[in-house]
């Protein structure tokens, strides 16, 4: 089974702090994704990556950055946390790579990190 592991289930930080959310997958997937989930808005894509050191903006990249130094790890960074970034953050992975971002394999999700910014 695919295992996508997010480092923290719950995290509380203060405004202005730099926040790192870590995600690791163990299935050698090329594609990795970061979403945030808010009531009434569903999941919205922040950033995705189809290869090591490659990254692409999603729908709502403002205030975030990402890092993909190793294939299995995709980090989401809040440069200067703000209260409107309080949310559930979900990481996902899928096989394929740039030519196959939309392969026949669905994305597999981690359990999520509930981040509160005070």
């Amino acid at each position: 089974d695919v295992k996508v592991t997010q480092s923290s289930r719950y995290l509380v930080k203060r405004t202005g702090e730099k926040v790192f959310l870590e995600c690791v997958q163990d299935m050698d997937h090329e594609n990795m994704f970061w979403y945030r989930q808010d009531p009434g808005l569903g999941l919205r894509l922040i950033y995705f990556s189809y290869d090591v050191k490659m990254k692409e903006k999603g729908d709502i990249p403002e205030g975030y950055s990402v890092s993909r130094e190793k294939k299995e790890r995709f980090s989401l960074i809040l440069e200067s946390a703000s209260t409107n970034q309080t949310s559930m953050y979900l990481c996902a992975s899928s096989p394929g790579g740039r030519g196959h971002l939309w392969s026949n394999q669905p994305q597999h999700f981690g359990d999520g990190t509930r981040l509160s910014i005070l």
Binding site: L41, G42, R44, L45, W102, Q107, F109, G110
Partner: protein, 114 residues
């Protein structure tokens, strides 16, 4: 702009009832539609639909896609309390670099009462 709309937003039924969840979409370069079930943690994959009119079935759950009318339904028969969850619909599209891979609806929250 790509859009995925789910209805109803929330639903309360009793065990044994049959429910139908709806998902309509407006997407450029449609590739597939996916259903996920989300309980307390990660969304778990249910179905991927790419062709119109072909029903996918897994136990008491089934789903079908209509690419002409741009919608999909998810049916759950003989509901159980364990079916209580948020059901997410997502549409996958062929996009260029920099555009999003998957567009999610806001979900339908299903509560099954004993």
């Amino acid at each position: 702009e790509d859009k995925v709309v789910q209805s109803p937003l929330s639903l309360v039924v009793h065990e044994g009832d049959t429910v139908t969840l709806n998902c309509s979409y407006e997407v450029t370069n449609f590739r597939s539609l996916l259903w996920y079930k989300q309980e307390k943690k990660a969304p778990t994959f249910l179905f991927m639909l790419t062709s119109s009119g072909i029903e996918k079935k897994s136990g008491r759950l089934s789903s079908i896609l209509d690419k002409k009318e741009l919608f999909s339904i998810l049916n759950i028969t003989a509901t159980q309390t364990g079916d209580s969850a948020i059901y997410l619909c997502a549409v996958e599209a062929w996009v260029d670099t920099g555009r999003r891979a998957l567009t999610f609806g806001s979900g339908t929250r299903l509560q099954v009462q004993p």
